[in-house]
């Protein structure tokens, strides 16, 4: 979701590793290489890629502003085609009847039915536009801190995978254990204690 929305959700990450210098050019090249593609006239059902925050439907990073103050700011876009089940069923049914008539048979094998279903979905996919979902992120490179503006599990998983693929850096999602493990305020013995922790019982 958008950073400028009235109400936002944030998932925090720690970014591990360093990029090759010059960092700005490395980031821009990676974003361009993995920019989201348009699949509206293609058979693909889903595509995931980067897009500029200020212009999410024109994914070109050559001239896009990707840094504000000292923070990288861009977006993850997930375009997905949702073909209603009943539409698939209707076209599958029509195609199956046509195939039976042509082959003068009473039934089709399971593999043939699957092949028809796949073809129907492929054909419909080229006719249905994808629904775009845009999720903003801010990345303070020097601090190794990234905020992803959604808590949606599927979007977070897509981010983690694409980020690693694009920048060859690991993202560590900060939840109670990792937030403690990544903390610079805890000593070695304290981190050892973390691995031995058992739940507290406040009331026996």
């Amino acid at each position: 979701m958008g950073i400028l929305s009235t109400s936002v959700s944030i998932t925090q990450y720690r970014v591990e590793g360093r990029l090759a210098d010059p960092v700005m050019e490395t980031v821009r090249a990676a974003l361009n290489k993995h920019a989201v593609d348009d699949i509206d006239n293609e058979a693909s059902e889903q595509v995931i890629g980067w897009t500029p925050l200020e212009n999410p439907f024109a994914p070109n990073f050559d001239s896009a502003d990707i840094i504000i103050d000292t923070t990288f700011v861009f977006s993850l876009r997930i375009d997905k085609k949702s073909i209603p089940t009943k539409v698939v069923q209707k076209h599958f049914d029509l195609e199956m009847k046509r195939r039976l008539k042509e082959s003068k048979r009473d039934f089709l094998a399971r593999a043939e039915k699957q092949e028809i279903r796949d073809r129907v979905v492929n054909v419909l996919s080229t006719r249905i536009p994808a629904t775009p979902n845009v999720y903003d992120l801010t990345w303070d490179y020097e601090a190794g801190q990234l905020w992803f503006f959604t808590n949606l599990k599927s979007a977070n998983e897509a981010l983690e995978s694409l980020f690693k693929q694009s920048f060859k850096l690991s993202l560590v999602r900060l939840f109670p254990y990792t937030a403690a493990e990544c903390s610079q305020d805890l000593s070695g013995p304290e981190k050892d204690n973390l691995n031995q922790l058992k739940p507290t019982v406040f009331m026996e």
Partner: protein
């Protein structure tokens, strides 16, 4: 470091203890909260809290308290039966401004974060300034959570947890 998926579920209790501790601190020690965040004017429980009971005889019980003026008696009763806070809506005040957000224990995810109102963005040129301002305002809430968690985990991993914090929280829960 443990495998992330294993660590996420094994240490779910840590996030729930953290939120329960925040509630305890809100009710009992605002001065200590101000030491953790010197710009904090007040921290309050907002309009929603979810409690779960995983470790006691009522394991599996989930209690949701909601509403602007919700009574917290049922929440304390759930703590008495061994429950913990799984999700909490917080209102943070600093200066004349107010932040509201929900915090989930198992993930530390922040949701429904509303920051103080800023000017309307009316042209493309104003977007950059608006983003800088929004990052700054979000950082106030995120920074608060991180500082609170930093204080909590330091306590939790030291002797003070068993010797001081647990007895004090026990007294608070028992007095309800």
């Amino acid at each position: 470091m443990l495998d992330v998926a294993v660590a996420y579920s094994r240490y779910q209790f840590l996030g729930e203890e953290f939120l329960t501790w925040i509630w305890f601190m809100i009710e009992n020690d605002q001065a200590a909260l101000q030491k953790i965040d010197p710009e904090l004017a007040a921290l309050e429980v907002g309009r929603r809290m979810v409690l779960v009971n995983r470790h006691h005889r009522d394991a599996g019980e989930t209690v949701t308290i909601k509403g602007d003026h919700a009574g917290m008696e049922e929440g304390l009763l759930t703590l008495k039966k061994g429950g913990m806070v799984a999700e909490i809506h917080l209102v943070y005040r600093s200066g004349d401004h107010e932040w509201q957000f929900s915090l989930k224990g198992e993930s530390l995810n922040i949701s429904s974060l509303k920051v103080p109102a800023t000017g309307k963005v009316e042209s493309q040129e104003e977007v950059e300034g608006a983003i800088i301002e929004k990052i700054y305002l979000c950082d106030k809430a995120v920074g608060l959570i991180n500082r609170l968690y930093g204080r909590f985990i330091k306590l939790r991993l030291g002797n003070a947890w068993r010797q001081k914090v647990v007895p004090a929280m026990h007294r608070w829960i028992a007095s309800a």
